[in-house]
Amino acid sequence: MASLDGSTIIGESILINGNLNGDEDLTVRGRVEGTVTLTKTLVVEPTGVVKAEVQVKNCVIAGAVAGNVTASESVEITKDGRMVGDISAPRVIIVDGASFRGRIDMGSFEAGEGERPALRASRPALSTRRPSAPAPARAEEKALPPRPPEPPVPAGLGGGKKKVIVRRK
């Protein structure tokens, strides 16, 4: 039985009820209830259901998680992921399509506090520039067909902007 060491898989039909501790990656395709404590990555696959207090380094949720997740590095909810509970991690990624209800705590921003006002100050400048940005683009679109080929653009770029060539039989 070639069971690869260093990674644990909980199969689809398996239910674990209790405490789970470990120092390796864990992939859940079945159900885990109770507590999960790992020093590595927990991956909840689309078929996986975790109803537990989770404490890990990294967590990737593509299945269902109900419970609080504390990660020392990151938590990612993928587009198939569903989660109800609180997340505490310095990096939290929630992609489009994911569903999540709960609180998120990414820690405090001691280091970033100095930069924040500067960021905000630069924002108005950005927004004033933005309205004007689409206008030239539109003008360009209209002007495009008759526009004569400008300074030698790489063939790929120029070709994409020119009219679509329709082949007639």
């Binding site: 039985m1 069971s3 990674s7 199969g11 398996i14 405490n19 789970l20």
Partner: protein
């Protein structure tokens, strides 16, 4: 493009592996094969095979169809088909199964009951 970039899941319903650094305290139940390289305390109930590998440590009552032990088991084992104690295993507890194999080198302490068919 982006073809399905899933980890190479070999087959659906692939067996479950509990890795060597994993400790589970509680109950495991399921309908598929289970391979244990780590530690499980509590109870294990399966409808398929349980493999306790050399590094596996079980402190639990086991109820499955088939059991193969190469590691350590403390607890009662009840199998509907077969129990196999391999060389180098250490088992303490009672075993109930219609077929029980004990290999040379296995260490076992407990009662054996093969009379399961007529069991009440």
């Amino acid at each position: 493009m982006a073809a399905i970039e899933k980890s190479p899941a070999p087959r659906t319903g692939a067996h479950t592996v509990i890795g060597s650094s994993i400790v589970i305290d509680g109950e495991i139940s399921g309908d598929e094969d289970l391979v244990i390289l780590g530690t499980v305390k509590g109870r294990i109930g399966l409808k398929e095979s349980l493999y306790v590998e050399g590094s596996g440590v079980i402190e639990a009552d086991i109820e499955t169809a088939r059991v193969e032990v190469s590691g350590q088991v403390t607890g009662n084992i009840s199998a509907s088909e077969k129990v196999e104690l391999k060389a180098d295993c250490k088992v303490t507890g009672d075993i109930r199964a219609p077929r029980i194999l004990i290999a040379d080198g296995a260490v076992f302490k407990g009662n054996v009951d093969m009379d399961v068919k007529g069991a009440k």
